[in-house]
């Protein structure tokens, strides 16, 4: 197995673990962490596949897209955390309405 496909495989595993955590756990902070891990998995697959060039110079377009993605991910995380704190402030629990313990 070449390093390219090794990292692509790691990316897929990270994506699956992240999705598992996103569905399974109720706490919103955990869901935010899970989405971030899913995102890292996608980025890893993209950059790994960009390294499949012959002359060893990787494709710069996916790299630029991943950098854009990292910045968008951090702004989405900041917004999600602000929403979580607001939910926590209003209901006393940082969970979605259907998971609330009464």
């Amino acid at each position: 197995m070449t390093p390219v496909f090794l990292y692509a495989l790691v990316g897929i595993v990270l994506f699956s673990i992240g999705l598992y955590g996103l569905i399974l756990y109720k706490h919103l902070l955990r869901k935010i962490l899970a989405i971030n891990i899913m995102g890292s998995g996608v980025f890893l697959v993209m950059v790994a596949l960009a390294a499949r060039t012959e002359e060893g110079v990787p494709d710069a377009v996916p790299h630029a897209m991943v950098i854009t993605g990292i910045v968008v991910a951090v702004s989405a995380t900041a917004l999600a955390l602000a929403l979580m704190l607001r939910v926590n402030e209003k209901t006393g629990q940082a969970v979605l309405p259907e998971d609330r313990e009464t």
Partner: protein
């Protein structure tokens, strides 16, 4: 040959550690532990980017992905009550069912990726062929600011929108740390000028080596986070128009230069090759300033010009 095997072994260990850290992040019931493991995960991701020949991505991941996201997560966690920082165990049936489903997803995705051809040029040839026209030698910067500048332009818009949304949520809780650690205070005084210098260097070097507007902005934001941790705040006369113009200058400069050449018979965001170098640097400088201040403002989490009862004593305080 043995060297290649050692590197492959390193890749395998790194990949396994990444998966293990992600699993621990999601399965540890203590949320503080989860966040700390996630930061470690981000730092190891930066190592993976280096191994994949993507030093630009590695810089962005280490500063933004691990550093700033970590600071945001820890600061949000600190505002949750102690009871909320732990999570109860989930049922075994649910875990098993989901586990089986995710296993099938893994097999499916794995099959798709492994059926891709082992060699693919993608757009690397096109990027290399036109690098002379783009006026920068670093292909990633060329893609970000020149070839695919729409992405970067819209991304600045996304950052601004996120900040607007966070501000309009108006989080009431403010950090009230009366005690400022003297060691942190001294360290901040030394580090902040260094950060600003590093930020400028990353911006300049981005034209021909790993670096660029995002990495420079992130380092600037790190300086802002350090200052906020020391109870520093902007004087109230700067929080109105001055702060807002810095927040939008990246987007405004980008659009202005993009439209400027429309009048010289070019399409939107197309720069003439002989002038591109200077304009790219101008856009990048404005963009990194905006990115840095927006990210630092996202960490602060509230509009500094709005005076609520809880923070009025802070906003009228003396400038440090």
């Amino acid at each position: 040959m043995e060297e290649i095997d050692l590197l492959l072994l390193f890749d395998a260990v790194l990949g396994f550690t990444l998966v293990w850290l992600a699993w621990q992040t999601l399965s540890s019931l203590d949320l503080f532990r989860a966040v700390v493991l996630f930061i470690a995960f981000g730092l190891l991701m930066a190592l993976a980017w280096v191994r994949l020949d993507a030093p630009d991505v590695a810089l962005a991941e280490a500063t933004i992905g691990a550093g700033l996201t970590g600071a945001l997560l820890l600061s949000a966690l600190a505002q949750l009550s102690a009871r909320q920082k732990h999570e109860s165990e989930t049922s075994l049936f649910l875990r098993l069912t989901l586990g089986v489903l995710m296993f099938f997803l893994l097999i499916g995705l794995g099959y798709i990726v492994f059926s891709l051809p082992p060699q693919a040029l993608g757009l690397s040839v096109e990027v290399a062929k036109n690098i002379e026209l783009s006026a920068v030698a670093n292909p990633v910067t060329a893609v970000l600011i020149n070839y695919r500048s729409y992405d970067t332009l819209l991304e600045l818009g996304v950052l601004l929108l996120a900040l607007l949304a966070v501000w309009s949520l108006g989080s009431a809780s403010t950090r009230k740390s009366a005690f400022v650690n003297p060691v942190l205070d001294l360290l901040t005084r030394i580090l902040v000028p260094v950060f600003i210098l590093v930020s400028g260097y990353l911006l300049w070097v981005g034209a021909f080596a790993p670096g660029g507007a995002f990495q420079a902005g992130a380092v600037l934001a790190a300086a802002g986070v350090l200052l906020f941790l020391n109870d520093w705040h902007l004087e109230s006369k700067y929080t109105g128009f001055a702060l807002r113009s810095v927040l939008v200058i990246g987007l405004v400069m980008f659009i202005a230069i993009g439209f400027g050449f429309v009048f010289l018979d070019r399409v939107f965001l197309e720069y003439p090759p002989e002038l591109a170098g200077g304009f790219i640097l101008l856009i990048e400088a404005a963009a990194s300033l905006s990115i840095g201040i927006i990210l630092a403002a996202l960490f602060l989490g509230r509009d500094p010009s709005v005076k609520s009862d809880s923070c009025s004593d802070i906003d009228t305080g003396v400038h440090k």
